[in-house]
Amino acid sequence: MSLQLDFPAVLERWPSLLGGAALTLELAFFATVLGALFGTLAAVGRSSQSSLIAGACKVYVESIRNTPLLVQIFLVYFGLASLGLKLSAFTVAVAALTINVGAYTAEIMRAGFEAIPRGQIEAAEGLALSRLQIYWHIILLPAIEKVYPALTSQFVLLMLASSVCSQISAEELTAVANYIQSDTYRAFEAYIIVAVLYIALSLVMRAGFWGLGLVLFPRRRRLGTPL
């Protein structure tokens, strides 16, 4: 067995590698933003007084959390196609990732909502705030603050999981690695380099969320409480 590694053969494809990394970040960005919105709504929905809405949100969360992302992506891909919608791989990928991470976000946010003391809500009700205003001004930010580490870990996991989108030929980082290895027969080197890029991307995301935390929770910055 001769072990001869040739990393330059892969590294000379750096423009496609960077392009793939950029697309992976883009996928993660859109799915995170949309999934955070969607999941928060689902979390609110789970505590709805209407048992129909609460039940629908529960079915959504449990069905997504108990099936593989790969199956979900194929279902969205072929499901939209059978509805006659011809969408780009990127759009399908964002849709599937959003639906997926939305369910996890809903579960995390629900824990955050439940951690808000009852007295906070009574005080807000006593000040005549509406249900929506209470969610927006009183519950949302402290709830996010309480679950921020879990939430951001979930979004980093989402970025890594987006590698599965290579299977519907979205040209993100893993798909780029697949092309390069089939071109150069340098599979080991290609996947090692891509693994390093993913690790770098997760560090970039963690740094980004740390910065976002400083903006979102000014009290912590003022009082110096660590995130």
């Binding site: 007295g119 009574e122 005080a123 006593g126 000040l127 005549a128 705030l129 009183i138 003022r222």
Partner: protein, 252 residues
């Protein structure tokens, strides 16, 4: 002490109010009224129903029977306009319940802006004014956790005052405080009474109740057991109040 001027409509009136938690009957035909400018203190052992009665006034508890009218709102009815009711009624809790992620100023300006549509600059002026009333002007930009318990409770009172309520409810607002911090909160409430604010308070501070209240309601087993001017604390007529005042005086 300010003399309450008799007015045709009481600000708060309860008539034969019934309330049970499961098999436990906590309010068993409670009736009393609070006139404009009057200060009413509710006293009694824990579990006597005094806090529940207070919370019924702002509809934090729904009643099972009887009639509650607050500033013209029929609180006992299911169709009561809760947000209109709560603009007329201010409530202060034992555990302050300031919003931890907002500065004191934001705690105060939130409801005037969000509920009454007040302009931000106007609300900020108002915040300064109500904070001056409770002696906390310098804490405008602090966060709640930077304040002592007594300061937090005064800020919570200021937050309620900013909504310019017609009546203020105080639910054991000094029970979580050390004696020296209790005093600073009680001084603020005394000043409000002197300014003519209508108030209903649940309290364990007998000396304070005696000094400030126009009327005392002594709750016992879900009923108004004895009621009258503050002087009933010194010369109670029922054995239950006699015993209660005895133990209460030991505390204060």
């Amino acid at each position: 002490m300010q003399q309450s001027t008799p007015s045709p409509e009481p600000i708060v009136s309860l008539r034969d109010v019934q309330k049970s938690f499961g098999p436990l009957r906590v309010l068993d035909g409670v009736s009393f009224a609070v006139e404009r400018g009057e200060v009413l203190a509710m006293i009694g052992r824990s579990g006597s129903g005094k806090s529940t009665a207070l919370r019924c006034i702002d509809r934090f508890e729904k009643v099972d029977g009887g009639e509650i009218v607050v500033c013209g709102h029929r609180v006992d009815r299911p169709d009561v306009d809760l947000r209109a009711l709560r603009q007329d009624v201010g409530i202060v809790f034992q555990s302050y319940n300031l919003f931890p992620h907002l500065t004191i100023e934001q705690n105060i300006t939130l409801a005037p802006c969000a509920v009454k549509g007040m302009a931000t600059s106007q609300a900020k002026d108002l915040a300064r004014k109500v904070l001056a009333q409770v002696g906390l002007e310098e804490k405008l930009l602090a966060y709640p956790e930077q304040l002592s318990g007594g300061q937090q409770q005064r800020a919570a009172i200021a937050r309620s005052l900013a909504m310019q309520p017609k009546v203020m409810l105080f639910d054991e607002v000094t029970s979580a405080l050390d004696p020296e911090l209790t005093a600073e909160v009680l001084r603020v409430i005394e000043q409000l009474a002197a300014d003519g604010m209508t108030m209903v308070m649940v309290t364990h501070e007998m000396g304070f109740a005696k000094g400030i209240a126009d009327r005392i309601v002594f709750m016992h087993r879900g009923k108004v057991h004895e009621t009258g001017p503050a002087s009933i604390l010194t010369s109670p007529t029922t054995p239950e109040l006699t015993q209660f005042v005895g133990t209460g005086n030991l505390k204060s």
